[in-house]
């Protein structure tokens, strides 16, 4: 079956004073209907840029985004408006992404009014109440403003708005990163329930590996704008290949005492600049296993076992 969403050699370069910043640099991914692809990596590796490219909030420098097999990057305005109904996004900071002057009901109703999927005030309000119920927001909040609510409820408003047009695919950009763990768990459960009920597909962006492992069917690991490894979740955790993936997994603090007295392998150095990167593995400067052949040529993702892809000269 064809994937719902696919990116091909997707690129976004930002011009800066000191050169071209390669925020997303040739990313190939695909997400099936009803599935979740987790995208992990450290800050600045291009996760949010990738998410915004996929929902067409940013114009790509190159490459394609296919929705149901059709490249949506060259859609005209009318086609784009239609397509937007199916593809939505939720953000890390629900507060920054919600208009502070609008009430909860106005925020949730807005996409419905813009796309005119439902007509008439009463019918729209029925839908608003239904959505609030779906995401677990009590009716009494209908006329409140986002700043009057806590972070967890604000994120529920963001989710309700994203669901307003009955999309098939939602990019979730760090949706629980700003929330305390007890509230984070409530929102994660909600997202998973919605997926099951509605067959939603998610691109789930986060820097939190425990969260991504919990929610994803497949995981893509990014480093400096590139996807360095991609595999089904269980496979990635059981058999990580790329040295960066290994470093990332080793760095997660585990909430039990099993690793307490182990000397941990701590990866040295920091992420290099994404401006005018040289060809070759971008992790090489920090990689304990780097060799001369890691530099000088671009390293494509290669399939090492069914569904497991890695970009590294060791494999």
């Amino acid at each position: 079956m064809a994937p719902l969403i696919e990116t091909r050699n997707l690129k976004k370069y930002f011009p800066t004073a000191s050169g071209l910043l390669h925020a997303v640099d040739g990313v190939n991914l695909s997400i099936g209907r009803g599935k979740t692809l987790g995208v992990v990596g450290e800050s600045g590796c291009g996760k949010s840029t990738l998410g915004r490219l996929v929902v067409c909030l940013l114009e790509a420098t190159g490459g394609e985004v296919l929705y149901d097999g059709k490249n949506i990057l060259n859609y005209g305005e009318e086609q784009m408006l239609q397509m937007r109904r199916h593809i939505q996004m939720i953000f890390q900071d629900p507060y920054a992404s919600l208009n502070p002057r609008m009430t909860v009901s106005e925020i949730i109703a807005e996409p419905i009014q813009v796309c005119r999927t439902i007509q008439g005030r009463d019918a729209i309000m029925d839908k608003v109440y239904e959505l609030m119920d779906t995401v677990g927001l009590a009716d009494r909040f209908v006329n409140t403003y986002p700043h009057e609510l806590d972070g967890g409820r604000r994120q529920r408003i963001g989710i309700a708005r994203a669901l307003a047009l009955d999309p098939e695919f939602i990019v979730c950009d760090e949706p629980v990163s700003a929330l305390d763990v007890s509230i984070q768990a409530q929102v994660l459960n909600l997202l998973m329930d919605l997926q099951e009920e509605r067959g939603l597909a998610y691109m789930f962006i986060t820097h939190n590996l425990s969260v991504v492992a919990h929610i994803s069917n497949e995981i893509a690991v990014m480093y400096l704008g590139q996807c360095v490894e991609r595999a089904p979740t269980d496979e990635l955790f059981a058999n990580p290949l790329h040295p960066y993936t290994k470093a990332l997994l080793a760095a997660i603090p585990i909430p039990n005492l099993s690793r307490r007295h182990m000397e941990r392998e701590v990866i040295r150095g920091e992420v290099a600049s994404p401006i005018n990167p040289k060809p070759g593995c971008r992790f090489a400067v920090r990689c304990p296993q780097a060799r001369p052949e890691c530099m000088g040529q671009e390293l494509p993702l290669r399939e090492t076992s069914p569904g497991h892809y890695v970009a590294c000269t060791l494999y």
Partner: protein
């Protein structure tokens, strides 16, 4: 026998603003031994930062005040200290670092200058060459090349800035470091670098540390003892072994915290979140502060504060394990 370095007894702290009275800390008991690391765990608003600020008398002036209790450092009650007395304590005996390193760094001074300044104030090191050598040593200790002492804070990454802040905090070899979410804003691989460096320094300098965090993973890897806070109270405390022992009795909130984090080593479809929200600190519930969210709440929990039950230093405040008024 280990000696108590710091002992907090029955501490109450309030913030009084024009429109509200916030009960931020409500009867906290904590103690820490020399060279030990105590994890102070809890969600936003639990009162962790307030507790740490009270120790150093850094509560916002006029708004925040300690209303009851004592904080004794090696037997001397800090709550009775004047501002002048406290200046000799801060930086020299107790240091504090914050989540945002720029809280402690001056953007217009080089990092070398800032470390030297601390040394001159506290250690009376007047000899310039000596100070210079110490600055180099301290930077090396936290893994920053000494050549970089002439650089300004903005020339460093977030992880390096936090190392520099730690360098400054440890410059005078304090006995106690209060670290308020020092790695929360850092990426995991950088967090791992900073934590492993802190662990090493602690061993080398025998510094005791109160590590404030909401991350139970960080606690498991770095702390000797743990205190879990909820709504301004410590609801459970013990050694890491006691707190992380799934067989031991635990406070329902502790159980809830562990249930809410996805566990990489287990495959569960649903998490077990704690229902509801943190109570409003201006109107705390009667009885057990957690009763409004507790899945095991009993009649007595609504009206009576649970008494302490202690076994081998494992402290629990919950009616499930003890009866009567506290």
């Amino acid at each position: 026998m280990t000696t108590k370095l710091l002992e907090i007894k029955n501490l109450y702290v309030e913030y009084v603003t024009d429109d509200a009275r916030v009960f931020a800390v409500n009867g906290v008991d904590l103690d820490i031994n020399e060279g030990e690391t105590l994890g102070l765990v809890g969600e936003t608003g639990a009162g962790k930062t307030t507790t740490a600020l009270s120790i150093l008398k850094l509560l916002p002036e006029r708004v925040g005040r300690v209303t009851r209790g004592s904080i004794s450092l090696e037997g001397k009650d800090l709550t009775r200290y004047t501002e002048a007395d406290m200046r000799n304590i801060r930086g020299e005996i107790i240091s504090m670092i914050f989540q945002d390193p720029m809280t402690s760094l001056n953007p217009v001074l080089t990092v070398g200058y800032q470390i030297a300044e601390v040394l001159k104030i506290h250690k009376d090191e007047k000899e310039n060459r000596q100070v210079d050598e110490r600055v180099d040593e301290i930077l090396k200790l936290v893994g920053i090349p000494p050549e970089r002492k002439h650089d300004y804070p903005h020339q460093f990454s977030g992880g390096m800035k936090q190392r520099i802040v730690i360098a400054i905090a440890l410059a005078c070899e304090p006995k106690l470091l209060l670290a308020d979410e020092p790695t929360t804003a850092l990426d995991v691989t950088i967090q791992a670098q900073v934590l492993s460096m802190m662990n090493e320094l602690k061993r080398k300098l025998r510094t005791a540390m109160i590590l404030i965090t909401h991350d139970l993973g960080v606690v498991a890897e770095t702390c000797d003892r743990v205190a879990i806070m909820y709504a301004g109270e410590v609801i459970e405390a013990g050694t890491v072994e006691q707190i992380f022992d799934p067989e031991a009795p635990h406070h329902p909130y502790t159980v809830g915290l562990f249930g809410a984090i996805p566990d990489l080593t287990k495959k569960t479809r649903r998490l077990n979140p704690i229902d509801g929200l943190m109570p409003d600190p201006t109107h705390l519930p009667e009885g057990c502060r957690f009763h409004t969210r507790c899945p095991r709440c009993m009649e007595i929990c609504r009206t009576q504060r649970p008494a302490l039950r202690e076994e081998n230093g494992h402290r629990l405040y919950c009616h499930l394990f003890a009866g009567g008024e506290r």
